[in-house]
Symmetry: C2
DNA sequence: CCCTCAGTGAAGCTTTGACTTCACTAACTT
DNA sequence: AAGTTAGTGAAGTCAAAGCTTCACTGAGGG
């Protein structure tokens, strides 16, 4: 639903993802949907904001592939899509790894120093 | 450095964290710092923005505990703090778990149906 | 058929956020 | 001492983001 005519300004997938989760209300939506699917009205009631606002947040979440929705009759049911979190997890893993490599290089350096001392 | 006089508007730790990573330039800073520490000037050169802007981004990253910095002489050296990613990981894990529980409940339901069919 | 309820599009409001420039301080260099 | 160079504070600009209200469509219920 509510796909923008033009591709979003946010270029990358990761960008859309982090931006989507950067808003507290959208995270609350995700948290709620992670427990059970919900309609727009229900989400509006829970977050205490207008249905219009929910619709806007939903569009952002769907662009980030964190949620999906289908309309049956007049009610739209929104769902959480956990697979959408994958790129986020990848980003974290990547930076954790970078860090570990830094530690490893440090270890090597220290080992070198130690062995030098042993030689002395 | 640059601690705000008043506590940030962003209340929770998770909030600050997601918001900090919601900006592409700040993520680039983190990526760069994950490889090696860098000065403000170096980051400004890499990202092609003013040193002032780097200072502002740095403040946000430090508030989110994703980075730290120390000034030696006139140069400030910035460092990535990987431990700051923990709450982010926790958030993901939590929502993955919620999802799994949903799947389990679904499994139980299906099992119920199946055994009913078996009885029929 | 009329009424209500769920959701949407359009517009506009207000705040936040990401920069910049300018001016200034403090630390090296020569 | 004089000239760079690194970083900062203050202020201002500009666009994006989060909401709201209003008007309207369409589905269901009496």
């Amino acid at each position: 639903m509510m796909q923008p005519a033009v591709e979003s300004v946010r270029s990358s997938r990761v960008d859309r993802l982090f931006h989507a989760l950067g808003d507290a209300n959208r995270r609350r939506m995700v948290s709620h949907l992670a427990e059970r699917p919900a309609s727009v009205s229900e989400l509006a009631a829970v977050l205490a904001i207008s249905k219009t606002a929910i619709g806007q947040h939903l569009a952002v979440l769907e662009e980030a592939k964190l949620a999906s929705s289908t309309k049956l009759g007049r009610v739209r049911t929104c769902q959480f899509d956990p697979a959408g979190l994958a790129p986020l997890q990848d980003w974290i893993d990547y930076h954790r790894q970078e860090w570990n490599e830094r530690l490893n290089r440090l270890d090597d350096l220290i080992s070198g120093i130690v062995s030098n001392e042993d030689c002395a």
